[in-house]
Amino acid sequence: MNSHGRIDVAPADWEQVVSGLQREGFTLFDFITVVDRGSTLEVVARVVNPVARVPTMVWTTLPADAAELASLCSIYLGAAWCEREAAEMFGVVFIGLGDSRPLLLRASLGEPPMRKSSALVARAIRDWPGAAQSTDDGRQGGNPSRRRQLPPGVPEDFLRDEPLVSGTTGDER
């Protein structure tokens, strides 16, 4: 028995395939979550057959700029929570999801925060400690011949205009 069954479906078949699984005995809904692959988003639902104790993961791939998928709420009521979370964090639009109020964030926040394209504001307003060179001349404004180091995960155009290297780091212990 394959306990890590994986089914890949086209977005159009998402609801129908999961509905079929539920009729076959996968009556327990576990979760829905999303993986950001850049230009695509992979959505995965995990359901379980509690009698046979067999889980199955259903995967589908959506274009990141038009991420729409049928809601599973009419099959599993509990899917609403995960779909609201996926909508809020990854910007997936679930068609047929009745209650799409955000769970945590203000609706006006903008880019869904779990998308890789969403840069953390906290990363832009703070100096990156790694910008300092490992010698003191780097500390004191940087050697222009050295390539400027960018923190991982921060897009180049997201940073402020001021130099990344701060003059001092406060008290020295």
Binding site: G130, T135, P151, E172
Partner: protein, 116 residues
């Protein structure tokens, strides 16, 4: 009873640290910060003096650290290691920032460093 292999805190052996900045740059939460300067060291028989980094300050902000262990794994000089010490109590956020003195107090770790 805290097991000896517990990931209680990150310990530093400052004498092994070359100020290479790898841990500072790879830390996902940006909670490591170090200050260093260079010194010229003349060795007998050497034609030119050698430039070495000298560590002045090394801080980990345990208010931000998520104990992922990336710094311990990546340090090429085994200057960082897990230690079962776990007493981070502080009454202010600034008190969670530990410097060389506090980080060295957790050394030696009771298990060998897991670095490369």
């Amino acid at each position: 009873m805290i097991p000896a292999e517990a990931h209680g805190t990150i310990a530093l052996r400052a004498s092994a640290c070359t100020s290479c900045m790898i841990c500072v740059r790879e830390c996902p939460t940006w909670c490591i910060d170090l200050v260093s300067h260079t010194e010229q060291v003349s060795e007998a028989g050497a034609r030119r003096p050698k430039t070495v980094n000298v560590l002045d300050a090394f801080r980990i902000d345990f208010g931000l650290c998520m104990y992922c262990g990336i710094c311990v794994d990546l340090c090429p000089f085994d200057a960082l290691a897990w230690s079962p010490e776990h007493d981070h109590g502080a009454t202010t956020a600034a008190g969670l920032v530990q410097g060389i003195k506090e980080l060295e107090m957790a050394w030696p770790p009771t298990q060998p460093p897991t670095g490369n």
